[in-house]
């Protein structure tokens, strides 16, 4: 397994798109931190970039990479290897190299300017998001045979998690404004890894007061150690579940 991971990572880290992604993150982070005099404000601006760009690049790049590797995967399957090994190596290779790109692009500037708990939390959440969206991409790629359709599905998933989900939640809130939904909101936020990450960081930044009563409930839940552990576990489930489903599917797939 290690052998395939090594070669896949070496291949991806030389990929031009990943290099551009890394460079973009680096430029964005440094410019955000040097524009704002207060570096915790800088972190907030950076958070918005991270929550938008990291899932997008992770999901689309991974989907395209998996489709472009179709013949290579076939060749690997014809070798004495278990299918599960091949698929998990591919996942680890993609997740690992995109995480490295994120860590160099965002992690290092954050550690230079804002090396406190919030900064480290943000790096952790960004790394988790990279891995989560690689996992979701691989699930999308294994489900759809057609490349164009698969990339379409990946983009739709990103639109759903980044934009539509918030719209749906707002719609629900307005429709059911007469009911006490604050507690339910905590549960609903677990359905979207991006939202969950945003809440985790915002609460660290102490701007939750701006979120009204719901913010207070969030603070009550996510602010505690156990709430934090639970939400990090939910993020881990967002990695493990898609990976498990895609491995199961890949094991039976006709190539």
């Amino acid at each position: 397994m290690k052998k395939i991971i090594k070669y896949v990572m070496a291949d991806i880290l030389r990929n031009r798109i990943v290099l551009v992604y890394l460079f973009f993150l680096l430029v964005a982070s440094f410019s955000v931190f040097s524009l704002e005099d207060n570096s915790s404000k800088g972190l907030l601006s950076l958070l918005n970039i991270v929550l938008l760009v990291v899932p997008l690049i992770s999901i689309i790049f991974s989907t395209i990479y998996v489709y472009n590797s179709a013949e290579f995967i076939e060749l690997l399957v014809s070798q004495p290897l278990k299918r599960r090994t091949i698929w998990i190596s591919l996942f680890v290779g993609l997740a690992g190299s995109l995480s490295i790109a994120f860590f160099v692009g965002v992690g290092i500037p954050v550690l230079l300017y804002e090396a406190n708990l919030t900064g480290i939390m943000m790096i952790g959440v960004g790394l988790l998001l990279s891995v989560i969206f690689v996992a979701i991409a691989m699930l999308a790629a294994v489900w759809t045979r057609d490349k164009a359709k698969g990339i379409g599905v990946a983009i739709m998933l990103w639109v759903y998690f980044s934009i539509l989900f918030d719209g749906l939640v707002l719609f629900l809130l307005f429709q059911l404004a007469d009911y006490p939904l604050e507690k339910a909101m905590v549960g609903i936020s677990a359905l979207n890894p991006i939202d969950l990450s945003r809440i985790l960081i915002l609460l660290q930044l102490d701007v939750s007061a701006m979120m009204g009563y719901t913010g207070a409930i969030f603070k009550d839940f996510f602010g505690t150690a156990s709430g934090m552990v639970i939400s990090l576990s939910v993020l881990l489930v967002w990695i493990l579940l898609p990976v498990w489903l895609s491995v199961r599917n890949f094991n039976r797939k006709d190539l």
């Binding site: 070669y7 070496a10 013949e71 290579f72 290897l81």
Partner: protein
Amino acid sequence: MIIASNVSKRFGKLQALNNVSVTCNKGECIALIGPNGSGKTTLIKSILGMVVPDSGFITFNGNNILHHWQYRNNIGYMPQIGRYPDNMRIADVLDMMKDIRGHKGAMDEELVAAFELDKLKHKRMRTLSGGTRQKVSACMAFLFDPQVLILDEPTAGLDPVASEILKEKIITEKKKGKLVMVTSHILSELDDLVTQVIYMQDGELRFHKSIEALRADTGQEKLSKAIAHVMLNTAL
């Protein structure tokens, strides 16, 4: 050595393989022939475990391949289209294969030398022409001295010199007592290679004969003429 029993596979509406049974033994060189979409590649992929048959089973040296993935240690496969990760060099791809196989015995690098891949070793895969990629695929199929060679359209895209080298190599390996399975649409170049012919049509196995029997039945000396004879007769 490889026995397929009543293998069927359906892709949606298309019956890719319909109750196909074949027996392949050591020292044979089998040509898989048939029109496009007749199920040749599906049969090969089933043997390699890339496609899981809906019914029927395949055994390799007596073991059902469904449960023994290690059997692929004994197979060298050359795919129809070889595409490799863009940023790997030829040397990386070969090294990776060696790593994966963990092959103990001697490597057969005859083809690497014959195709002069050493000179191109540091080129990235995305910069290679289709023919050169095909050469890399061929080298990998023969590298680990496997007992079985499965070659899907091996000479497609190769220049005449290279395809002659490859044919010579196939003949020497056959003489060593290996089982070779080849698909090709260029029948004329199979003439001096094959000992057996499997003819498939619409996912069904039409016949599996030795080349001598085929020649005797059709009265044609050349394989291409003999197959044309068969195709015309089945069409009628």
